[in-house]
């Protein structure tokens, strides 16, 4: 039974249902309970934005607060996974990867390969990402391109409440290490979400909108931006197909290439940086494998090669918006901008 609920609740529910189903699932991170050792109420926070709220009440022994020691506890997730648990650790903001990246890059991701196929490391690292809430340069980055670059880990970037739940359940059930990116500006986004547990397989893109004139590839919060743009473009007679890969690693190349085959045109909109980023990755894929189908240059719409600025006016100018996406589509389709649009 589906009912409307938020992206944030969908994530919370996925954890609760998997903890119910599988007692090897444990949750830990900074303030995921909130109030450990303190005189007031426990589960005071349930995570800095409340996403793990209520887990402590249900599974008090299987959710743990941690010291601010990301390297130690992310490594503990790897070690716990290799020794029989299925940990769901939380890195509060992905911007903090720099203090714990070794445990992902060189440990969890490489165990299986280095050990000749004899290790299984079923850990999930949930993390917040993205701009839009004026959190400034060190709390607003997207950074999934760096993780996508690393062989051995899977990278998930949901764009809707429905996907968030199904992809997180798959992440927890998956036998490989997974990093799960939650866009902080999507938490309140509502959507139809089944109450029961369901898993969305990795590497299966979602064609969010069908259209024959241009393919727009977008992830996470940019899916909504692409949809907004598509609505405007439809008014101009341009039908955009929007493909949401849902996971950047594995990547559903097939669905993307099939769409380009139909449309002959590609715009990639992405919130991560332009250099060695996800937009470039998709553009390269098309230039290598769909070259014959392309009728126009590929356009990527990303933030500039700058840190994320704080001031709201600057941050809004930094993040791709529907106007920029629409402009890029008009360019590749050779359409004139409608009156009043630059």
């Amino acid at each position: 039974m589906a009912r409307k609920t938020s992206f944030q609740n969908a994530i919370n529910e996925a954890m609760l249902q998997e903890m119910e189903r599988d007692e090897r699932v444990v949750v830990f991170g900074e303030d995921v309970v909130g109030g450990s050792g303190a005189p007031g109420v426990l589960d005071a926070w349930g995570g800095v934005l409340g996403v793990t709220k209520g887990i402590h009440a249900r599974f008090p022994d299987r959710i743990l607060d941690t010291p601010i020691s990301e390297a130690a506890y992310v490594g503990a997730a790897a070690g716990a996974a290799a020794s029989g648990l299925r940990p769901v650790a939380e890195l509060m903001f992905v911007d903090f990867m720099g203090v714990c990246f070794d445990q992902i890059l060189n440990q969890a991701a490489k165990f299986r390969y280095m050990f000749g196929g004899k290790a299984v490391t079923p850990m999930v690292l949930r993390t917040m990402f993205g701009a839009g809430i004026r959190a400034a340069s060190q709390h607003s980055q997207a950074l999934y391109p760096m993780f996508t670059h690393v062989p051995g880990i899977k990278v998930v970037v949901p764009s809707s409440a429905y996907d968030a739940k199904g992809l997180l359940i798959q992440s927890i059930r998956d036998d490989d290490p997974v990093i799960f990116f939650e866009h902080k500006a999507l938490y309140t986004l509502e959507g139809d979400v089944p109450e029961e547990a369901y898993a969305i397989p990795f590497g299966e893109a979602n064609v969010v909108r069908s259209g024959g004139d241009v393919t727009i590839v977008a992830l996470g919060r940019m899916v909504g931006v692409a949809q907004e743009a598509a609505k405007v473009l439809a008014g101009e007679g341009i039908e955009a197909e929007i493909v949401d890969p849902r996971t950047t690693s594995p990547l559903d190349e097939e669905t993307i290439l099939e769409s380009i085959e139909e449309t002959g045109r590609l715009v990639v909109v992405d919130e991560a940086g332009p250099r060695c980023g996800f937009a470039a990755d998709i553009a390269a894929l098309a230039a290598e494998k769909a070259f014959g189908d392309l009728k126009a240059p590929i356009r990527t719409v990303t933030p500039p090669h700058t840190p994320v600025p704080f001031s709201p006016v600057l941050e809004d100018a930094y993040v791709p918006d529907a106007a920029k996406v629409a402009a890029a589509v008009r360019e590749v389709t050779g359409a004139a901008a409608p009156a009043g649009v630059a």
């Binding site: 900074e30 340069s137 500039p304 704080f310 001031s311 709201p312």
Partner: protein, 331 residues
């Protein structure tokens, strides 16, 4: 010019006392005002207030010169103000204005002014200690008497970067002081839990450097202990870890309801441990400073913050072209 020695508490001249009080009061007003302004929804982003901890910034930084450096934390307003950052520039920064001390690009968590030796508030817990090791290296290589001081919270003292820095500073014999502001909480998690309730200063022993604990509500105690640590650094005798026990009055960030704290905990602290009240009592009781002088500072501070908020609100936001500037010196 008078030849009589001015009265002093803890060896401080009355000028120094007034300066210390002024610093604390300006910080307090700054933070109390931000707390109220935040509630109106006009201030963007994350704001972490320093109210309650003023004696540490004031007591430590009063020993520093412009060419000494401070590396701060996410809770950085107090350190920045004490280090001499412009009040108007800071306020405008927090409002995201072009007149801001970082042209609105940094915000509350990245306030910096290198010309004042303020190496930045920092959104990454534990990132400051390595930076002041670098400052210490600069001083050592150039043979200056400069000192680097980092601030870290109790929670931040569990971060590898902090712990590594204690050792690096010891090994390189650097003129740095690691101040730990132990306010008992890392976000909602108590020091009882995240560090087994132990003194952070104890960790210094394992690296062979002095670890000192001091009452962070007491300006005089902080001032004295910091003076020793900074003096040791300036003399080339190496680093010190100075732990100041303190409390924050507001939530971890604005919006935090603090339900993890005991009911009445903050009210009790405000009533009994307030650094400004304690200071006022100490200096007025002995007649060192007239209450009226302190009252005048209070009024000035209030007016200054009032004016800085008005200016910030009226100031222009950055031009959109600013998104692209200041990434590199030359690219």
């Amino acid at each position: 010019m008078s030849t009589t020695t001015p009265p002093a508490v803890g060896g401080l001249t009355s000028q120094e006392l007034l300066a210390g009080y002024r610093t604390m009061r300006v910080i307090r007003e700054f933070e109390e005002r931000l707390h109220r302004e935040f509630a109106t929804g006009e201030i963007p982003g994350f704001v972490h207030l320093y109210a309650g901890e003023e004696a540490i910034a004031a007591g430590v930084i009063s020993h520093l010169n412009d060419d000494d450096y401070v590396a701060s934390t996410h809770r950085g307003h107090g350190h920045a103000l004490a280090k001499g950052c412009d009040v108007d520039g800071m306020m405008a920064e927090i409002y995201g204005r072009y007149d801001g001390i970082c042209h609105g690009k940094g915000g509350s968590m990245h306030i910096a002014d290198l010309s004042k030796g303020m190496l930045g508030a920092n959104g990454i817990v534990g990132a400051g200690p390595p930076l002041v090791c670098g400052v210490g290296l600069t001083a050592r290589i150039r043979k200056t008497a400069q000192v680097g001081v980092s601030f870290t919270g109790d929670g931040g003292s569990n971060q590898g970067m902090f712990l590594e820095s204690l050792n690096l500073a010891a090994v390189w014999n650097l003129p740095v002081v690691f101040v730990v502001e132990n306010n008992g909480y890392a976000e909602a998690t108590s020091n009882e839990f995240h560090s087994s309730g132990l003194d952070v200063a104890k960790r210094a022993d394992g690296f062979g450097i002095p670890g000192v604990v001091v009452d962070g509500h007491d300006f005089f105690a902080v001032h004295e202990a910091a003076g020793e640590a900074i003096g040791r650094a300036r003399r080339g005798d190496g680093p010190t870890l100075l732990e100041c026990k303190t409390n924050r009055y507001y939530g971890h960030f604005e919006g935090d309801q603090q339900t993890y704290r005991a009911p009445g905990e903050v009210e009790e602290l405000r009533a009994t441990r307030d650094c400004l009240d304690g200071f006022r009592a100490a200096v007025t009781e002995g007649g060192l400073i007239a209450a009226a002088e302190l009252d005048a500072i209070d009024a000035e501070a209030l007016a200054q913050i009032e004016s800085s908020v008005a200016r910030a609100k009226a100031a222009a936001v950055p031009d959109l072209s600013e998104v692209l500037t200041d990434v590199y010196v030359d690219y």
